[in-house]
Amino acid sequence: MAISPLACSAFPVVRRSLAVIAVAAALAAPLAAQKPAPIAFDSYTLPNGLKVILAEDHTAPVVAIDVTYNVGSRNEQPGRTGFAHLFEHMMFEGSAHVKKGEHMGLLETAGSSAFNGSTIEDRTNYYEPLPSNRLNLGLWLEADRMRSLDITDEKFHNQREAVKEERRLRVDNQPYTKVIFEEGYKAIDSATCWPYSHSIIGSMADLDAAKTSDVQQFFHTYYAPNNATLVITGDFQPADAKKLVAQYFGDIPRAAPPPIPQCTPSFDAGARRERIADAKATLPAVMKYYTIPSYDSPDYPALELLATIVGRGQSSRLNRALAREQKVALQTQVFVDPFGPRRGPGPFVFLSVANNGVSIDTLDARLTDQIAQLAANGVSDEELTKAKNIWRAQAINERSRAMSLAQAIQRANLFLGSPDRLDSDFDRYAAVSAADIKRVASTYLRPSNSYTFIDAAEAAK
């Protein structure tokens, strides 16, 4: 069933009555006045397909580099899951002119410590903040590994072990993470949308079965300039930066355009339920997954704000109702797309941990009740204003550092289509009304669109 996109009006231009105008003005105007100055972008593409986005800012002598490859777990094939994430490990293992371990050593000596990489369903990024006089070092390191990553049997086997160890620590050794990292993906229909229906960390069996040549093939297919975007923010001179980019990246050959993952989102697949045995679950938890559309959907801002209203902090709706008043839950969290934005369907998740002595089915019933009330009654203007304030403060604060700004630019570019969407996002979120919240709650948070996981130490409870 297709969810028809609903038009999201920006500033309501209402001529009906003064009262309505006053209300609209009161709600919209102060928010509009609190947008930061728009960012001036300079975007271009090299002949080899590398997209470059520059955003200059001379406030502090720092720069940040973020190289995002348009590859993530969604690009994997059945039987070859976990590759994108494994790849991220491989990228730190050395390239033609950088010995293993040298990448981190060079960055630390340059004064950078907040460098890293990350893999999500849709993309893999590599980033480093630096003092501005070391822009050349950061770009050189990124270029060397893009052009000449050293993939050997030894490195592949070592990193495969590292991934397994990471899985043990993150997925197998903590409560509830088994659902968040793995089981939760079942909520997406694998028949119509396989790319988003499997985990990022992947199956250990698939990784064990993989050969070094598979890894090399993955590199050649996806780690190419025509499949990447380079963002530089901060204190640089555009002419110098462009010269460096041309010198370091210009002659890296392009690859054939990689295949595009196929996914047809489906909603309302019927209420599904499953009990997951989780030895680490000190207390059982109910986790309810609802399928929501992609990050660029007109409904997305309302869904994000809804998650804040119902689940963020002690005084949020669900914590007040289920923890403090009814005492059935120890605590409740609500989140959307736990790993990051997507260009496909994703989860809206309620995670509620039960108090001992409370049956998990009771908690599930109470939670379901609360969700139904949301759909029926919506939220108050006050709750919505507070959620918007929190969103806005975060959106402004992410611009205060070159590194977080670079990542935000990549996000807007990849998921919304252009870096300019970062500025227009302020209007997009400001325009969400209480009616929108009620609408998305009743559209998406319905039992027919849910997958409930009971996560408990003894599954047969």
């Binding site: 100055a37 002598p61 991220e88 050293d150 590292a162 204190d235 002659d251 030895a279 923890a323 130490a457």
Partner: protein
């Protein structure tokens, strides 16, 4: 998000076959002939200057120095108010007063309760906080510039009109005590505290909070401290962000309306005296498998021009994963997970220290190496590569630490209050870049005195003392800093004697009873405990059954002689599905048995057959004996304990630290507040102050867990 880091190891790069070149266009972007791709990392470009936003100053009528760091880049606002009222101003016997006063400033004032303050600031997506460091007491509020009225209003409420509600005072005291006790079970924190006390003695920087000093703080003390020290004249208000001087002045004056006065003179900081020769203070922490070692010397004030050179030396020695200490002690010798050094940043005379946490069997070697490496900085010029790397790392990270208006405001406030010159922040990088190897050696020579180091080691004295005594004279102390009676190492028995004495057990007070309790996690029911005591002609039996959600359950049976001596302990249970058991028999001054336990590293099986001192109580039986102990307001017991789960002997200290009225499901009781230490975590017991002495509440310090009596 799933992230990755590569593992560091010695590199052996295998060049792979070159990529088959695709038909790539080498048409260049419109620019001059492109240079080749460099085969080595490109060298640094010239450092670009740190251009601060304009800083405007004014002095308000009430004497506050206002600094405005104006930056309209983003519509954000950060206000940071600082007073020379840090921990150094704590009065003797009430250490912790400054910190507690700071914490309370944001917990209600100007007509708002604590909850209303946090809802007001969170409702606009902002933050508020307050605290102390050694020199400074500060309050900060952050948010969007459109909320400037609220931000300044909340600041004014905090500094000019705090309510110091009694309920909040009590809550702050409890939280501070909790934090303190948790900190005191951390060997690094214990070491730092003992080190400071040894270095500074009775000078202000040498004092630290203790449970007794915090318990002694009353609301009147807080009001007095506030009145004496949190006053406008001479205080610093740094405002950074989207605002101008005129607006900041207007808002500050309105926020501070009616608040006047100058603080009393702060105590003189004094100058610490370096030890005449190296002495090792060994803080006994029985059954510790590691030694936390701290070596240091008094050094410079923050404003001393030699501080730049010392900072470079510190980076070379122990500033990170490429520094000497890490490379030698971890990478080369595998003695530790990490070793670092640091230079303190205080207005008075600070210190230069190096630290390592090492296994017991290599603790002495690690200490020798630490001393040697610090000395090496005096005697041996630093290599050109290390020198350049250290300076680059410092100058490189500096702008990243000053990127936002908020970071800048904090750095400026810090510099001003440390007595540093006005251009300190702008010129820092250049001054570091200008440090010469000769200046480094000269600075180190002024600080590192060979054979006159101050050394603190926290660890098991019975294992470490003799080994360390080969390096320098050793003085053993308890974690409180009081001299310890020399521990006699004996099989299975460790532990320092404490000032408390072993108690007389009056077994007639152990009467048949059944106590049921609920176990609360974060205030919510999570488990239960039922304890039943029965008497017969020739024995006393206690059976306790504990259930902790689905994660743990166990049943313990203890038999005592009619005099209250433990005879046998049997425990059966499971932890997350894994069976556990304990069997121990006490007879003729010995304990014999076996145990299967589940800990952080998995399942552990042990057996034991060892002597125990007279009066030893099994760890599982301590709670059962509580009714039989002679409680009073000043009671303090030292109980020799054997832990069958670990196979080690310990000393538990149970000390009455106060009285409190406690309400639990079973009723409201006047209780003695008893702190028990010596186990893995300190535990608070609330024991009825009238006989029969029952434990109505138990709370381990740290985890949000409580056991409350139901009936």
């Amino acid at each position: 998000m799933i992230t990755a880091r590569s593992k560091l190891s010695s590199p052996t790069m295998i060049l792979r076959a070159p990529l088959v070149a695709l038909a790539a266009s080498v048409a260049l972007f419109a620019s001059p002939a492109q240079a080749q791709f460099p085969t080595t990392p490109p060298p640094p470009a010239p450092i670009r200057p740190t251009r601060l936003p304009p800083i405007r100053e004014a002095t308000l009528p009430n004497g506050v120095h206002l600094l405005v760091v104006e930056s309209h880049k983003l519509p954000v606002l950060s206000v940071n108010m600082a007073f020379r009222a840090g921990d150094f101003t704590n009065p003797a016997g009430k250490e912790g007063l400054a910190g507690m006063t700071a914490a309370l400033l944001t917990k209600g004032g100007g007509g708002r309760t604590a909850e209303q303050v946090s809802e007001a600031i969170e409702g606009v997506g902002g933050t508020i906080g307050a605290g102390t460091g050694p020199d400074v007491l500060s309050v900060n509020v952050n948010g969007l510039s459109s909320d400037k009225d609220l931000i300044f209003g909340l600041l004014g409420d905090a500094v000019a009109r705090p309510a110091f509600d009694q309920k909040e005072v009590d809550l702050a005291r409890t939280q501070l005590l909790s934090a303190l006790r948790l900190q005191n079970s951390n060997p690094s924190a214990i070491g730092a505290r003992i080190f400071n006390r040894a270095l500074y003695g009775s000078l202000p920087y040498g004092k630290s909070s203790t449970p007794a000093s915090v318990q002694a703080i009353t609301r009147d003390d807080i009001l007095g401290f506030y009145r004496d020290r949190v006053r406008p004249r001479g205080a610093l208000l740094v405002v950074a962000g989207d605002i101008d001087l005129a607006t900041a002045t207007r808002l500050a004056n309105a926020a501070f309306k009616g608040w006047t006065g100058a603080p009393v003179a702060p105590p003189a900081l004094g100058t610490p005296v370096a030890p005449a020769k190296t002495e090792i203070i060994l803080v006994d922490r029985p059954s510790s498998v590691q030694a936390n070692i701290l070596v240091g010397y008094p050094a410079f004030t923050a404003a001393d021009p030699r501080q730049y050179a010392l900072t470079v030396a510190d980076r070379v020695l122990g500033g990170g994963a490429h520094a000497r200490l890490f490379t030698i002690l971890r990478e080369q010798k595998s003695w530790t997970y990490g070793s670092y050094s640091s230079v303190s940043d205080v207005r008075g005379v600070g210190d230069f220290t190096a630290a390592v946490q090492a296994r017991n069997d290599v603790a002495d070697s690690a200490l020798v190496e630490l001393l040697a490496q610090m000395n090496r900085l005096r005697t041996e010029p630093i290599s050109a590569q290390e020198f350049a790397d250290a300076k680059n790392a410092i100058t490189g990270s500096y702008p990243l630490d000053l990127e936002t208006a908020r970071q800048l405001a904090a750095a400026i406030a810090n510099a001003r209050l440390n007595g540093l010159p006005a251009d300190y922040v702008t010129t820092y990088r250049n001054r570091i870049a200008a440090v010469t190897p000769a200046a480094v050696q000269s600075a180190v020579k002024a600080v590192v005195r060979p054979n006159a180091a101050l050394v603190v080691v926290v660890g098991d004295a019975s294992v470490l003392r003799d080994r360390l005594a080969k390096i320098a004279p050793v003085r053993v102390v308890t974690p409180d800093g009081t001299p310890a009676v020399a521990a006699t190492p004996a099989a299975g028995a460790t532990g320092a004697a404490s000032a408390a004495s072993p108690p007389q057990v009056d077994a007639s007070k152990l009467v048949a009873s059944t106590d049921s309790s609920t176990i609360l996690l974060q205030g919510n029911p999570f488990g239960s405990s039922v304890k039943q005591l029965q008497r017969s002609a020739d024995s006393i039996t206690v059976t306790e059954r504990v259930v902790l959600g689905p994660v743990m359950n166990q049943t313990t049976n203890i038999t005592f002689s009619p005099k209250g001596d433990v005879r046998t302990v049997t425990q059966r249970g499971s932890v997350q599905g894994t069976p556990t058991k304990i069997d121990a028999t006490y007879a003729n001054g010995r304990v014999k048995g076996s145990a299967t336990t589940v800990g952080q590293s998995g399942v552990r099986n042990i057996t034991f057959d060892t002597t125990v001192v007279a009066g030893t109580v099994d760890e599982n039986a301590v709670g059962s004996l509580v009714p039989a102990l002679p409680w009073s307001k000043t009671a303090s017991f030292s109980i020799p304990v054997f832990s069958p789960g670990e196979g080690v002997a310990r000393t538990f200290t149970m000390k009455v630290t106060g009285t409190q009225s406690v309400t639990v499901p079973a009723g409201t009781f006047d209780t003695y507040v008893v702190e028990m230490s010596g186990g893995q975590l300190p535990v608070m017991f609330y024991i009825t102050s009238a006989a029969p002495y029952r434990i109505v509440k138990t709370a381990p310090v740290g985890p949000p867990l409580e056991i409350v009596l139901v009936r």
